[in-house]
Symmetry: C2
Subunit: 223 residues, 2 copies
C-alpha cells in the first residue's frame, strides 16, 4: 500500500487540493506554482503519475485526478490532519505551528499507526484549522464553506477554516482572535481594494482582500 514516493504523494496532494478549487482540469503551471518548482519538473512527474493511473493526463490538455489517485491523496490528508490534532491537543502546540511538522509526519505513518492514533484522539472530525478528517475509506464531510471575501455587507458568518496554512498567515489571524468557531459580521466592504471592515464581538477591524480571501466561513446559523 505504501507504494509511492514522498514526492509523488506531495504532487498528488497538491493536485487534489487544486481540483477542489476549480471544476475544470488542472494545468501544469498551477501545479508548478503550488509546489514551488518548475513546469518541466511537473511534466516529468505527471508522466509518472499517469503511468501509475493516479491521474489522467494528456499532453498539453491538463490533468484530472483518478478515483485511485484521490484515495491516495485523501489518505495522506487524513494522516496530516490527525497528526495536527495530536500536536495541538496532546502536545499543546499552537494551531499555527503544526502544519510543517504534520507535513513530514504524514508520509512516515502506516495505516495501522494512524488507525490507533485516531482512536486515541477519540475520532476527531476536524483538524485545528477546521478542515474535515477523511475516514479510512476516504470519505470526507464536505462542509459547505465559502470565502469570507464573497460575503455580503451586513451579514454574519462563522469561521469554519482557512485557505492558507502558513504559520505567518495563522499568526496574523491569531492577532485578531480569528479561528474556527468565531462569528464575524461584515460591517462594510470597500469598493476600491475589496478590503472589509468586520466586527467580532465588540471589536471592529479592517481585513485586506488577501486575508478575507483565505478565511473560510459558513453563513451564520444556516446549514
Amino acid at each position: 500500500m505504501q507504494q509511492h514516493t514522498e514526492t509523488e504523494e506531495n504532487y498528488l496532494k497538491a493536485i487534489y487540493h487544486l481540483s477542489n478549487l476549480s471544476i475544470s482540469s488542472i494545468n501544469t503551471s498551477s501545479i508548478a506554482t503550488s509546489m514551488s518548482t518548475s513546469s518541466a519538473s511537473v511534466t516529468d512527474m505527471l508522466k509518472k503519475l499517469a503511468e501509475k493511473e493516479l491521474i489522467n493526463y494528456e499532453k498539453y490538455k491538463g490533468v484530472k485526478i483518478t478515483r485511485k489517485g484521490e484515495k491516495v491523496a485523501l489518505n495522506i490528508i487524513r494522516k496530516h490532519r490527525l497528526w495536527e490534532v495530536f500536536l495541538t491537543k496532546v502536545l499543546n502546540f499552537d494551531w499555527d505551528e503544526v502544519h510543517m511538522m504534520a507535513e513530514e509526519l504524514e508520509h512516515v505513518s502506516s495505516d495501522e499507526l494512524i488507525k490507533r492514533l485516531e482512536a486515541y484522539l477519540d475520532f476527531p472530525k476536524f483538524d485545528p484549522h477546521g478542515d474535515p478528517i477523511p475516514d479510512q475509506t476516504g470519505k470526507v464531510e464536505i462542509n459547505n464553506q465559502m470565502s469570507l471575501s464573497k460575503g455580503d455587507s451586513g451579514s454574519r458568518y462563522t469561521i469554519t477554516g482557512v485557505g492558507e496554512h502558513s504559520s505567518a498567515f495563522l499568526k496574523h489571524l491569531a492577532k485578531y482572535g480569528l479561528k474556527p468557531g468565531i462569528t464575524v459580521s461584515i460591517a462594510e466592504i470597500m469598493e476600491f481594494d475589496k478590503s472589509m471592515l468586520v466586527k467580532v464581538n465588540k471589536d471592529k477591524f479592517h481585513l485586506s482582500y488577501d486575508v478575507s480571501k483565505n478565511i473560510l466561513v459558513k453563513t451564520h446559523g444556516a446549514i
Copy 2:
C-alpha cells in the same frame, strides 16, 4: 540543526552502535554488513561524513566517530527510543512491532517536538527493549549489561535489554515470556553448541547460542 540527510543519519547511527561493541576503529565491511549495502557505497558515504567532521576517516585505516558525530547519533537514538515508548505506552503496540515505525519517525521529528513528547511521556529513562534514552545534551546512562551467553551455569541474571531488535527475534522471546525485568537462571550450558538450559520461574527451556547472545542482562541483585 537538521542538516543531515536521512541516509547520513542512518550511517552515523550504525557507526555509533558498532563503536560501542568494539574498542578499536570500525572497518568498512562491518558497516556494510550492518547497513545491508556494499563496501563501495560505504566508502562513498565515509568520505562525505568525514568531510562534515562527523567521523575521522583515513583510507584503509577504518573509522572513528567524532564527538560531533556522536552527538548527532545520540539525538537520533533519543528520538527513536522516545517514539518507541509512545507507540507501546500510548498506542498500545507490542514491543516487537515498534522498531520499524520508530526507524521512520526518528528522522522526521524536530527537537522541539521530541522535547514535548518526552514531557508528555513523563521523562521515561528506558525504551520498551530496556535501552536507555539519551537526554537533550546527549548524556546516556551506561547500564553495565553483558550478554546472557557469557553467563555462568548456576547463576541468576535480570534481563535488561536485547542486542537485536527485529520483530522475528522479539516475537521468539515473547513466546518464552522473556523481556526486560525478567529474572533468568542458567541451569546448564552445553559444551558442543554453547546452547543453554535456563529457568524462568517454574519453567525450564532451551536457548540456542544465537538467542542467548542477543539477550542482555545484569547479574542478579548486584550493581
